[in-house]
């Protein structure tokens, strides 16, 4: 099925804004979203399914007397359904309460180009091509060892576009592609089964490496078959990107969102310019990182995405803003308004949360460890305290390192601590940067973490 063209969706957005103003909105904004995805799925060692999902809709936000209403619909071909949605947004605003901090929708701005975010080859991928990708990943996984059992995974290609228009004259369109492949595997021997080991590769352009994904998941699963218990101690850890992504999403990323700071929900309040992490830690939110999984020309309310310094050499430099939070402090947005397609109003979210790399290779980083653990997968990071940064999670499997080498796997190890202490204890940052959801980061070495063994 063809995708909606730029002119079509822009017209739809501008038309909705026009109707809203005519019906009595003081301000109006329309966000049109289209997502088309094709996937091939693996279940229990074989390709069993293929699906295609087409999702389109429009979300309309209006302000009446400083009260905000929002309505959405996925019926966009029909002018009367769009009109009805405008009326629903207006009635919601009229039923709501005025917000004295509401200072209007964003103004018109110029946009930079989002680089390496669109590839026509992904757009033309069909289930046949995805079956080939998924097969080579599966074959690679089982070729590593016959005890490997890929339990689920798949390959997918998606096209996403958004158009936004508002009553301040914003009218913008952007589109992009993403393709990915992933596999979750266990290794089985007699009555033993390992914890799930997962690997994936997601890119904005046609450049995933399914064979690497399959081999790596299988390698980790097999190496988790033989486990030994470890003792309770305070030790050094290498956190891989999987562990970092889980821990940071539920803690640090909340602490740098301006609305949380304004609402006294962040320990970083009032601490700009202070040292909050070891000097090895530099973090940018980079909404224009070339080829980044969250790279777009503009954010969920039409504000240009940008590169924002958050922590430089351990010094807290800034926070993430949307238009509302920025205007509340007399600042400008950092382009961090995020939306769940057409279904939601904007809220503050990181784009590409980029921990900048050092120059050590993974092997050199391992060599720094006389005794410690390397952590891949965490269970329960979402149960962290999102305000204080305290976490109490399970790492399973994890691997013990002795004298710079993997000694053995272990399972069910608990890690407990506080993310803000962890940041102060980062002693080395490696150079093996990779993209994972909203994180772009290398492995990091952390000292003094409490580990609870069995």
């Amino acid at each position: 099925m063809a995708v909606l063209e730029k002119d079509q969706v822009l017209h739809l957005a501008e038309n909705a804004v026009g109707i809203a103003l005519k019906k009595g909105a003081a301000e109006a904004e329309a966000y049109v979203y289209e997502g088309q995805a094709t996937n091939v799925g693996i279940e229990r060692g074989q390709i069993t399914k293929s699906n295609r999902i087409i999702d389109r809709g429009v979300g309309i936000r209006v302000a009446v007397n400083k009260a905000v209403g929002f309505a959405y619909t996925n019926i966009i071909e029909d002018q009367s359904a769009v009109e009805d949605t405008v009326l629903k947004a207006l009635s919601a605003a009229r039923a709501s309460k005025p917000d004295q901090d509401w200072n209007g929708l964003p103004e018109k701005k110029l946009y930079a180009t989002a680089e390496k975010t669109y590839d026509r080859k992904i757009l033309s991928l069909r289930s046949e091509g995805l079956v080939d990708i998924a097969s080579s990943m599966l074959d690679a996984a089982v070729s590593v060892d016959k005890r490997v059992f890929p339990i689920e995974g798949g390959a997918g290609a998606a096209y996403l576009s958004s158009a936004i228009a508002n009553s301040n004259g914003v009218a913008a369109f952007d589109r992009g592609t993403i393709m990915e492949c992933s596999v979750a595997a266990v290794a089985k021997e007699k009555n033993r089964v390992t914890p799930v080991c997962f690997e994936f590769n997601a890119e904005r352009t046609y450049s995933v490496d399914p064979a690497w994904v399959g081999k790596e998941a299988a390698r980790l699963a097999v190496s988790a078959l033989e486990t030994k218990q470890i003792k309770t101690e305070t030790t050094k850890l290498i956190l891989t990107q999987f562990a970092l992504q889980e821990l940071l999403y539920f803690t640090l990323i909340n602490a740098v969102k301006a609305d949380n700071v304004q609402r006294n929900q962040s320990p970083f309040k009032g601490r700009i310019g202070e040292k909050v992490a070891s000097e090895n830690v530099t973090i940018y939110d980079d909404g224009l990182f070339p080829g980044g999984l969250r790279t777009w020309a503009f954010d969920g309310e039409g504000f240009p995405q940008q590169k924002t310094a958050l922590i430089e050499k351990g010094i807290l430099r800034g926070f993430l803003y949307d238009n509302y939070a920025a205007k509340k402090e007399g600042l400008t947005s950092t382009g961090n308004a995020s939306r769940a397609g057409y279904l939601s109003t904007p809220s503050i979210e990181a784009t590409n949360f980029h921990i900048t790399s050092g120059n050590k290779t993974p092997d050199q980083l391992m060599n720094e460890l006389d005794d410690g653990l390397i952590i891949y997968y965490l269970q329960g990071a979402h149960s962290s305290n999102p305000v204080s940064g305290e976490f109490s999670v399970v790492a399973t499997p994890a691997w013990k390192i002795r004298k710079g080498e993997i000694a053995h796997a272990t399972r069910g190890v608990m890690l407990a601590g506080n993310i803000f202490e962890v940041l102060k204890n980062v002693s080395v940052v490696a150079g093996n940067e990779r993209k994972m959801g909203q994180l772009i980061a290398p492995w990091i070495l952390v000292e003094n973490v409490r580990v609870i063994g069995k």
């Binding site: 605003a93 689920e152 006294n264 069910g412």
Partner: protein, 460 residues
């Protein structure tokens, strides 16, 4: 609508499908987010769409479109058949489905208070009462976020075997989170309600009580200390027991995960827990957040016994896994909406009560913890579970003592079920949302229980 769907199934069969099902949805949502009493936005949404799923040569094809138009659906189902054929090209073990009775039914929900008839203003006022109760509890409460959702509408289901179901949908859900701060200590607390009965859920759970409960916990945690990490006996409250049953056992009893290498298939009919351990997954409890009449494969929901007196008695199935295990489908196939395929999900999962009072459970513990309320939990296929705790206390010499904060418990399911040594006589179910790629509305719960030993994650 039903005729259009039935016709699409005919088309699929003509294209070579051995089985075809169509699921249409007309849904209305109202949502609110309030922060410190400020209404961020009052929101309303309409979602109409159709999910088409076909089995061709033993592989699944699935298409989702946001349209109820007959022509669009016919073209989408032909795509789905082609995709299924492509997916089947490397198939070693074709998928087959267990047989079920065909059903023709119309399911009405008749709430006392239909959410779509309650004015937006009234919903905002209810949320404002929660907000007021939270923020006015103590001046150290710094923030209060309230989310509200109601969903109403109709689901239509038809398959190529002749089943036709038109089923009303209704959910009311709300969550309040409160944070407190004092002398650089930050705490966080959450309360949630959810129902399939109607807006009358707020009569049973008054807004003031919800707010006060969240605020009280956040304040109490300000003076709490971190627990000591390591093995310890614990008494778990119904709220934590529910999540333990759901995470540590429930996911392993989902037949798709069981087939993927989980530890339960080898233990069917075997004793894996103490005599006191009996678990159910029940989709038939009136008004509970995880209840429904038919699942998204048209199979009636039922009360499924998972483990009885420590012996594994059954798994939760869809039609595909039921066929593999030569079992009956249990009505656990659920899809979040028309955008996704149905997968095996829990409904209302709980532990059956026995005979102890809370005092009796606590009095024999010399040194341990009482964990009353959870914050998140997660399980792994090998049986490793983790449950985060948002409200916990020390137990010292048989008495509940000082609060502890940011604890979690972990262990291995098969080892831990054997260590359940006393079970309470009380019982409570809690609404929740479970993530397995898709979000499902569920309940979990049980009585208070005592476990001889789990690993407590603590930084002290």
């Amino acid at each position: 609508m039903e005729d259009i769907l039935a016709n699409v199934n005919h088309v699929a069969v003509k294209f070579g499908a051995e089985y075809s099902e169509t699921r249409a949805q007309k849904l209305y949502k109202t949502m609110l987010t309030l922060k410190e009493g400020r209404v961020e936005a009052a929101k309303q949404g309409i979602e109409n769409g159709v999910a088409l799923r076909v089995l061709v040569n033993g592989a699944w094809g699935f298409a989702s479109v946001g349209s109820l138009d007959a022509e669009t659906l016919t073209s989408a189902v032909s795509d789905a058949c082609k995709m299924a054929k492509t997916a089947s090209s490397r198939l070693k073990m074709p998928i087959k489905l267990a047989e079920t009775k065909t059903v023709e039914d119309r399911v009405h929900i008749r709430p006392k208070k239909e959410p779509s008839t309650i004015l937006m203003e009234d919903k905002i006022n209810t949320a404002l009462s929660v907000n007021k109760a939270t923020l006015s509890y103590d001046k150290r409460v710094k923030s209060c976020t309230i989310d509200y959702l109601d969903l109403t509408g109709t689901n239509y289901f038809a398959n190529s075997e002749g089943t036709r179901i038109k089923q009303d949908k209704l959910y009311v859900w709300s969550r309040v989170t409160a944070t407190a701060e004092s002398k650089g200590v930050f705490t966080f607390s959450r309360e949630e309600i959810g129902s399939t009965a109607g807006y009358e859920v707020f009569d049973a759970e008054p807004p003031e009580v919800i707010g006060e409960t969240a605020a009280k916990r956040a304040i109490e945690q300000l003076d709490a200390k971190p627990p000591k990490g390591g093995k310890s006996p614990v008494v778990l409250g119904p709220n934590v027991v529910g999540v333990f049953v759901h995470e540590a056992f429930g996911h392993l009893a989902e037949a798709d995960l069981a087939l993927s290498g989980g530890v339960l298939p080898n233990n069917l009919g075997k004793k894996i827990g103490s005599d006191l351990v009996t678990f159910y997954d029940d989709g038939t409890i009136d008004g509970a957040f995880g209840s429904f009449k038919y699942d998204d494969e048209g199979v009636p929901a039922q009360k499924t016994l998972l483990i009885k007196d420590g012996v594994v008695t059954g798994l939760m199935h869809n039609r595909e896994t039921a066929q593999k295990f030569n079992a009956e489908p249990t009505g656990n196939a659920r899809a979040e909406d028309f955008r996704v395929e149905p997968i095996i999900r829990m409904r209302n999962t709980f532990m059956a009560p026995r005979d102890h009072s809370l005092e009796e459970l606590v009095e024999d513990v010399r040194s341990g913890y009482y964990f009353k309320s959870f914050r998140g939990g997660q399980a792994n296929l090998d049986g490793t579970f983790q449950v985060g705790i948002q409200e916990g206390y020390e137990i010292v010499n048989g008495e509940i003592g000082e609060p502890v904060r940011n604890a979690s418990i972990s262990g291995n399911t098969l080892e831990t079920l054997l260590k359940v040594d006393a079970v309470g006589k009380d019982f409570k179910l809690w609404p929740g949302r479970c993530g397995k790629g898709q979000t499902a509305f569920i309940c979990d719960g049980g009585p208070h229980i005592r476990v001889k030993e789990v690993i407590v994650g603590g930084s002290a």
